[in-house]
Symmetry: C2
Subunit: 110 residues, 2 copies
DNA sequence: ATCATTAATCGTAATATTGCAATAAATTAA
DNA sequence: TTAATTTATTGCAATATTACGATTAATGAT
């Protein structure tokens, strides 16, 4: 199959999974960290920094952009990418809600 | 390919990606939420609650256990699963470091 | 010992992901 | 216009993931 049965889960569960999925590859983690580190970044810089082929980086950028976590602005022949801070904040709230679930009353049952 | 080139990334980046990957499927999100909601949970309860076939749930549980996020304890013919609170806390710290990256000085460059 | 119950494993089909070479598209420079 | 630069797209091979039927393993009940 290879196809998640999303219809049997809540919107929130699917959203968490979608965000998590995009973070599920170290190249995308590295790209995002680089965009946080330096204010804006050209696609070519990321190719040099990370060391995967240009089409591969381009593909990862596309996924990040599709989820709204980054923005891309064409500047001449280059494209300047940066974090979409508004959407990052929204995503963070969703993920924190999941990660910060209450464990205070969890007996060590197993 | 289908194979991530992990050797070109830092341990931290790979760790973030590994944790995120396991959260990248709504069934595993749902399983974890259920384990948080009720203190302990039998595999069969999760099968009923979530609605995927028993081998599928079992497979998802295996992945969660392999990453150390849950524990499983055999009780007769059943297996009682619960959150591994210690490891959850460690994982959370790693993920929060990634999610909480500083955006205060991010000009809207694009 | 036999049967019932529960969960894990195996095998397999369908689909998704990753990576890159080759190419195309878009823009700028000469 | 032509050439150079930069990024996106296409096509494809290799691998991974998801789901589940069939089966096995483990335990408990009769």
């Amino acid at each position: 199959m290879g196809l998640a049965k999303t219809e049997m889960f809540t919107d929130q569960q699917n959203q968490i999974a979608l965000f998590a999925k995009v973070f599920g590859h170290p190249a995308r983690v590295a790209i995002l960290q680089q965009l946080f580190k330096i204010d804006a970044c050209y696609c070519g810089d990321l190719v040099n920094e990370i060391g995967l082929a240009q089409p591969t980086i381009s593909q990862h950028l596309k996924e990040l952009k599709h989820l709204g976590l980054i923005k891309g602005n064409v500047e001449g022949t280059s494209v300047c990418y940066c974090i979409n801070t508004e959407n990052w904040t929204t995503m963070k709230e969703t993920m924190l809600q999941f990660l910060n679930q209450d464990m205070s009353n969890k007996a060590d049952c197993c």
